[in-house]
Amino acid sequence: MIISSQKKFKELLRALKERNIFIIGCGKCATKLHVGGEPEVLEMRKKLTKAGKNIVGWMVMSSACNISSWDDVLAKNPEIGKSEALLVMSCGGGVSLISSLSERQVYPALDTESLGGVRLEDTMKELCGMCGECTVWEFGGICPVSQCPKGLLNGPCGGAMEGKCEVDERTCAWDEIYERQKKLGKLEYLGIVQEPKNHSKKKRRQAV
């Protein structure tokens, strides 16, 4: 799941120059995380109207990052034609896709943060850093690329205090990795001298 959060409304208004706006929500991650589903789209409509915008219409796509026909979208939502801009309440993937298909001014309503998930009730952020060469089993399924703010592959830095990461209030990822591997009886993996990641696997412009 893509983890994103809503932008500050003030910030959003500053960018949103146009008056006639069509709002698009997303039925997948943004709905699950309560940042871009139907209730949030309706709330956004209310707030924007109050701020003097004319909301010409709205919709929640089943998933903003998977659109098979823009013509279908237009046929079902002719109000899009009356809009000067689209406000998309999905991750950056959906925003980019809709920008390329709609050929219109598109604004993101969310900030896309990381690839995570929802475990039972908890939103888990930064579960995977999308490095392009997954070796997460060597770390007991806790990925240091994304869970350690320094992405350290060979063990912890010396910066943790009382088990808390140097950077934020979270437990040091390396303590978690150690505990997990100990439980799994796989501590020998942590003795491997890990080579640096091959960043050419994560090209910025890979062919589709």
Binding site: K150, N154, G158, G159, W174, L190, V193, E195, P196
Partner: protein, 290 residues
């Protein structure tokens, strides 16, 4: 005799830490260095320590080397990718810098450029491995160098090690580390537990250089405990600082006492003053080292 030969010959070495200037004025840098000239076996020069931007350690080391000081250049993984790290190392070596101290480096959010991109293309273990390659005449990708390096590379460690931290230290040692500088020691008992723990890692005690921070006041002790990872000033020392009529003198006494006890236990001491090195000579004299 070089810092490395002294270590290898078992001399109890003294290293001292200096930060490059925040700016282009090297006056204080040279003044600080001149205060330890007679007895420091090498001067550690920090690399944007605590993620606070300062002059490049290559430049600062080079300036010090040109004045006859031997330096230990700190090199963090925070600011440079593998290309930049290697070119920095080649440049440093060509400028006469023989010793380096490798570490991950404090995260940018801890410093004065919070929004800087944290690089960490490599970690300290990988960087040490890369230094070994440069020493053997090849770059990280395996291309032959036109003139190799011969760095004496060191690593850092905290004194209190849990198992995963010990595993990491073992990995560093496996990558050709020739000396280890520790975070500040305030408790000799804990330091000997540490020495015991690393007994089997293959590193000799004479390669361990114990960190010393002379306290200035009770407040400075509390500050270290609260803000610096890996440092624990014990209660009895805090009390001694609190009750001292002249806290700075008390801090010097405590540091000298620690150094006295460390003499014979390990390979040397590394002095990291709060402020400059004005009192460093006194402390070492009180400890009977010089």
């Amino acid at each position: 005799m070089s810092f490395e030969s002294k270590l290898n010959k078992g001399k109890f070495v003294v290293t001292a830490e200096i930060s490059p200037p925040k700016g282009t004025d090297t006056g204080d840098l040279l003044k600080d260095a001149s205060m330890i000239k007679d007895f420091a076996d090498a001067i550690n020069v920090t690399d944007n320590q605590r993620a606070i931007m300062r002059m490049s350690p290559v430049a600062a080391c080079s300036i010090l080397e040109s004045k006859g000081f031997e330096t230990i250049m700190h090199l963090t993984c925070r600011d440079r990718n593998r290309l930049a790290l290697q070119s920095e190392l080649l440049g440093a070596y060509a400028l006469g810098i023989k010793n380096i101290l490798v570490m991950s480096g404090d995260h940018p959010v801890k410093g004065d450029h919070e929004g800087a991109k944290p690089v960490y293309d490599m970690d300290s273990v990988q960087l040490l491995g890369m230094v070994q390659k440069l020493n053997s005449g090849f770059d990280f990708s395996g291309n032959r160098l036109d003139g190799s390096t011969d760095f004496c590379a060191g690593a850092v460690t905290n004194i209190e090690l849990n198992e995963i931290a010990l595993m990491k230290l073992e990995k560093k040692i496996s990558q050709g580390v020739r000396f280890i500088q520790t975070q500040a020691v305030f408790d000799i008992e804990k330091f000997s537990v540490f020495l015991d723990k690393i007994k089997d890692t293959g590193i000799s005690k004479s390669w361990i250089i114990a960190g010393i921070i002379p306290l200035k006041s009770e407040k400075s002790a509390l500050f270290l405990n609260k803000n610096i990872a890996g440092i624990k000033v014990p209660e009895n020392i805090i009390d001694r600082m609190k009750n001292a009529r002249d806290p700075e003198m008390k801090g010097m006494e405590i540091a000298a006492g620690l150094i006295k006890e460390l003499h014979g236990m390990c390979g040397g001491v590394h002095i990291m003053p709060i402020g400059n090195h004005e009192k460093t000579k006194n402390i070492l004299e009180m400890a009977g080292i010089i």
